[in-house]
Symmetry: C2
Subunit: 289 residues, 2 copies
């Protein structure tokens, strides 16, 4: 999808938030904000938002001299998710439809924002998961289940650190032997990288690759050849999170997107209400946007 005018205030707000996370002083935060504003005044609106986010974050890294502002946050999220993993597993085992429950947990991992509170407790996370599981899912789960069953080579595009532990549960139910898990090629926001996949022992159960790109999504022209080969040779791609939807929503391939529509722009693009949990396919009529 293209970048909408409504995305621009979010980029500016995000830049301010990251400036604070890096611990930069006010002077440096101001310099960062000015450079991002100047940069945003010239962006290519025909590109998806992760394309611009990649550029903004390269500015942030350069100006704050911080190669990975979300490093500690990602480790904290990974640890928290690993801690509740056994409970998540038992939820799946005790379920009448394990693959559905596992998918719902993968969705819940996208819904709960582990980063909102610094000292979020295990109980609070569990409450968020229960809420997430009870939300209706917009999409054709039976078709998805059938595609999963019929596919021999599945590419699973991860989204965030912490969330990948929830993905692990789903991957274990699908059958890790036919899955390749792809993470980002470098640190970007709180998105999962090879470091996080190893931290959460995903590499012990599934083939893990990185896509060679540090965009917070999957911008194919920015990805490395090994990834692109995997992408196009997969029978099925499971793409988690908004960033992957934003960057792949117009790509003609057997993709299922699994995400919560957290903002109006995405909700409109996916033709759902904001806040919806969505299982959807590429949007053919929107090709070129």
């Amino acid at each position: 999808m293209k970048t909408y005018l409504e995305c621009i205030p979010c980029f500016v707000r995000h830049c301010l938030d990251v400036g604070k996370i890096t611990g930069a002083d006010e002077k440096l935060q101001e310099q960062l904000l000015r450079e991002v504003l100047l940069s945003l005044s010239k962006i290519d609106m025909s590109k998806p938002p992760p394309y611009t986010a990649k550029h903004i974050h390269s500015l942030i890294r350069k100006i704050t001299n911080n190669p990975d502002p979300y490093k500690e946050i990602k480790i904290r999220h990974n640890k928290l998710a690993i801690k509740i993993y056994p409970k998540l597993k038992s939820m799946v085992k005790g379920s009448p439809d394990p693959i559905n429950t596992a998918m719902r947990l993968a969705m819940a991992g996208n819904i709960i924002d582990l980063g909102v509170k610094n000292n979020i407790t295990e109980q609070e996370v569990e409450k968020s998961i229960a809420n997430g599981l009870s939300q209706p899912l917009i999409g054709d789960f039976q078709l998805f289940k059938k595609e999963i069953k019929n596919s021999k080579n599945i590419l699973y595009l991860a989204d965030n650190a912490g969330e990948i532990v929830f993905d692990k549960i789903f991957i274990e139910e699908i059958g890790p032997e036919k899955i390749t898990l792809a993470v980002r090629g470098g640190p970007i926001i709180n998105d999962a990288t090879i470091y996080d996949a190893k931290f959460c022992n995903l590499d012990k159960i599934v083939n893990v690759i990185d896509n060679g790109s540090d965009a917070p999504g999957t911008i194919l022209e920015d990805c490395k050849e090994e990834f692109l080969n995997k992408f196009w040779n997969s029978d099925l791609v499971i793409a988690k999170g908004q960033g992957n939807f934003e960057s792949l929503s117009n790509v003609e391939h057997n993709i299922f997107f699994l995400f919560k529509a957290k903002c109006n722009v995405i909700a409109n693009h996916a033709n759902v209400q904001v806040g919806s949990c969505v299982l959807t396919r590429p949007i053919k009529e929107d090709k070129g946007n």
Copy 2:
């Protein structure tokens, strides 16, 4: 007060909103947004937010070729407020402390955002007023009442169209003969101008002047001499709304600011919780900011 980093995303969001209000097509809205982003990348952060807003709105007017984007909205708000004026008057007359009730109504006029809904009903406005009246007021009303009584020349700085009908009630209780009402010198957002003051018959009861400036606040160096003479020769200045507080909070004069702190930046600057109804004085220790 200075412009804070947190003000910048709001400016960007505001620019988008106004672009839509002008009815500009998407292409023109994009051009407007790009020019505002470029302009914001170079602003003087030591100036108050209304200084930047004035500049942004001159860009908006130029690019959209629309001299007054909020014209219809202002007329609608004036009409709605005029319609409920008799009920407001009877509330004051039936009150055990008419001047307090009148001041609370002037505050309610600042609280209720008539612009949120296009078809807001009289009943909904009345409900908003009742809510506004029941909110606690942070400030020394007794001192304010004493200053009003002791002052012979009061300058009343208006804020928005519609809201000035609520101000009219307060002015009538204070005694219009000792008051000069000042409005903005040109159209800016939904701020009241001479047109609105006349539309609401304020000119029939009180001396009305404009400040010569089209900033959404009172930036003294931008105001005309006639206004400045009135300002400095007044015993008391009553300044309505955030914009007047933002631009005059560090001016040493006998000013009472009356406003709802609608955002975090203003709330922090006024040392209150966001959402508070505030009656406050200039902030001496913050001089120079």
